[in-house]
């Protein structure tokens, strides 16, 4: 056990301790085990990570319960007070309503718009990551396990795609979709097209990582034992290999979520994202940008800060997760 003095010795030593705790007769149950684990220890001893987690959680809650939290309903034309337009932050509008982050030209509450915008941003980001993950993991598993020409074809496509910036790929797919979908449906389909274009631009990372891990795992004895038993390849892939590659996939997905949110904001800022009737954070920034130089800075600055905070916290969480799951860095 801890006898030899190699570099990797400290990791196993610590984790073995964790196991020793877990293998007791379990008088404390599952919850105790979570709080006793090494992951929880590394989490609770990193204040930045805890802060990021809290901010991320707040964004998620705000997005899910937007109608309950937002003081106003900014995208129902009837509820807007036009005379409250351009109210600066922390001031009362002419209608007597109070606006923390001020209002835009049409009298929309910027704070409420941010909450609803975060909802769209997170939704698009989440679905895009899920799409990219399912596609990338499946292709990566197949490429890594089959090898040969299947592997060559899949990975060459990935290489070609990697030589373009992801945002360019997304723009291209978005443009293609727009040309193919009839004009009447475009408004409704925009969000799905956005999800697919961001997802398609991001699957390569998953495929590459999963392929590499799969090639290692498929030569490990437990996979060989399954082959000798006569387990079918598809079952081996999904029941044996997949659970063992999910750790690294989770890390990529977390960082990928931040990237997808930024990609969505970029596309929306360029005006090719979601329509202004259901604005995301990116759309809000674009709208506000028009007023930035006429002095109404709050319309674009607050959504911008919100976007930075969200992307940064998710990113920091992903960074921590990568380190926590990597025994060599512990």
């Amino acid at each position: 056990m801890g006898a030899s003095q190699s570099n990797s010795q400290q990791g196993p030593l610590n984790s073995r301790q964790g196991q020793a705790g877990a293998s007791e007769e379990a008088p404390h149950g599952r919850l105790h085990r979570i709080f006793d684990s090494d992951i929880w220890h590394s989490f609770s001893h990193s204040p930045i990570t805890v802060l990021s987690a809290i901010i991320t959680l707040l964004f998620f809650l705000a997005a899910i319960f937007a109608p309950l939290i937002a003081p106003y309903t900014p995208f129902q034309a009837g509820s807007l007070h036009l005379m409250d337009g351009f109210t600066p932050p922390f001031e009362q509008g002419m209608s007597g309503n109070f606006y923390v982050f001020g209002t835009d030209d049409q009298g929309r509450d910027v704070f409420s718009a941010i909450i609803y915008g975060a909802r769209i941003s997170l939704l698009v980001g989440f679905c895009a990551v899920l799409f990219a993950m399912v596609l990338g993991v499946t292709l990566g598993l197949i490429a890594g396990y089959r090898g040969g020409w299947v592997d060559t074809v899949i990975m060459r496509i990935a290489d070609v795609q990697l030589s373009f910036p992801a945002i360019l790929v997304a723009l291209l797919i978005f443009g293609l979709a727009k040309a193919m979908i009839p004009r009447d449906y475009q408004e409704n389909m925009a969000i799905y097209v956005l999800i697919i274009s961001i997802g398609l631009s991001d699957w390569v990372q998953y495929a590459r990582t999963v392929r590499g891990t799969t090639m290692v795992e498929k030569n490990r004895e437990y996979v060989q034992a399954a082959r000798v038993i006569g387990v079918r390849p598809a079952v081996i892939l999904f029941r044996h290999v997949l659970p063992n590659v999910m750790g690294s996939v989770l890390v990529i997905a977390t960082i990928g979520l931040a990237l997808a949110i930024i990609a969505e904001a970029t596309l929306s800022f360029l005006g090719v994202g979601v329509p202004p009737t259901t604005p995301s954070l990116g759309t809000l920034i674009r709208i506000g940008n028009d007023f930035l130089f006429s002095g109404e800075w709050w319309i674009t600055i607050f959504p911008g800060i919100a976007l930075i905070m969200l992307a940064l916290s998710v990113n920091l969480l992903g960074d921590w997760l990568r380190d926590a799951l990597n025994p060599k860095l512990r």
């Binding site: 056990m1 801890g2 006898a3 030899s4 003095q5 570099n7 400290q10 030593l13 301790q17 020793a20």
Partner: protein, 338 residues
């Protein structure tokens, strides 16, 4: 600790109550727990034990190469009567290589892949001995031929990857002996090698040390290697010494129940047994070392006292045995000595 029974020679290396700890967030793990032994000049001391026994850590603790967070938490290490466990790293670096040579299991960890074998040999020789470049090279070629590498004048300019595993281990041995150290610590030097190569390396190590009068601390899990090489054997279990004694005694008439079980568990060629002796259970993890004698839960002869009191090494004939079964013997031998 007890005095050596035949203390005609002063020991070259003395280890007194050595303790190695690993602080972790769940408390301190004691990986080497209060062990004492010595090595006389020119003697081969075999340190055996199964994985987790702490034998490699003992070796690295002697030369203070423990990797953090591991640390020496108590005890003394004396080389020729002088304490070396509390020396600063620069002074230790001079002792390592000059007075203590090292051979590890994987020869690649001791060789730098970016430099030729000759460069590494010459550098080591010139660090420790007052020699010119030409002299050092000449000595390097001599050493290579001594460790059995053919055409040394050509091969000295090759890189480690151009040698096979067995040849690399020979080069590591050449590096270890190049400054004529008085002690070599060899940690599993043959474990990574094929059976036929193992015999060659053991032969080489024995021959060199015999010629130069170098003492060896040979750390291994392989009783066969010990039987062929060692003069005395220290058997470790769960970070403690179970038994120290002359190789004949430990291998043929072991005293400690653990050593007995260990010897019975090794199959031998030509002896067709239906079943091997087996010790049930496994070496305890460092987190769950039993009270009293660490071996008592697996011991077929354990009694009440083993559970509560930890046995100190007790002198039995020429051996020292940490086992309560021999407690009476201690009284007897103590009386006879006085």
């Amino acid at each position: 600790m007890m005095a050596q029974t035949d203390s005609s020679e002063t020991p070259l290396l003395e280890v007194l109550n050595l303790r190695v700890e690993f602080p972790t967030r769940r408390g301190t793990l004691v990986a080497v727990d209060d062990i004492s032994f010595d090595i006389k000049p020119g003697e081969v001391l075999g340190v055996v034990g199964e994985s987790g026994a702490g034998k490699s850590l003992t070796g690295t603790a002697v030369i203070n190469l423990l990797e953090p967070p591991g640390r020496i938490a108590g005890g003394e290490v004396r080389l020729k009567g002088q304490r070396i466990d509390n020396l600063p790293q620069e002074k230790l670096r001079h002792i390592r290589g000059r007075q203590i040579g090292m051979v590890f299991q994987d020869p690649l960890t001791s060789l730098n892949p970016l430099y030729t074998v000759g460069y590494q040999l010459e550098e080591t020789i010139r660090t420790h001995m007052n020699m010119s470049e030409g002299q050092a090279r000449k000595r390097g070629i001599e050493l290579l031929s001594e460790v059995g590498i053919s055409a040394p004048q050509d091969r000295i300019d090759q890189y480690p990857h151009q040698f096979s595993g067995g040849m690399r281990q020979r080069i590591v041995i050449a590096l270890a002996v190049c400054a004529n150290p008085s002690l070599i610590i060899a940690d599993e030097p043959t474990t990574a090698l094929d059976v036929s190569i193992q015999a060659q390396i053991i032969d080489l190590l024995k021959r060199l040390c015999h010629e130069q009068g170098t003492a060896v601390m040979l750390i291994t899990h392989d009783m066969g290697v010990i039987a062929e090489t060692a003069d005395r054997v220290a058997v470790m279990y769960a970070g403690r010494l179970a038994e120290v004694g002359p190789v004949q005694n430990v291998i043929k008439q072991p005293y400690h129940p653990y050593t007995k079980g260990l010897m019975g568990a090794i199959p031998t060629v030509g002896q067709k047994l239906e079943r091997l002796t087996q010790i049930d259970g496994a070496m305890p993890r460092l987190t769950e070392i039993p009270s009293g004698c660490a071996f008592h839960p697996r011991c077929p002869k354990a009694f009440d006292r083993c559970d509560t009191e930890r046995p100190d090494p007790i002198a039995v004939e020429e051996s020292k045995v940490a086992c309560w079964l021999y407690d009476d013997a201690r009284v007897l031998s103590g009386e006879t000595e006085q």
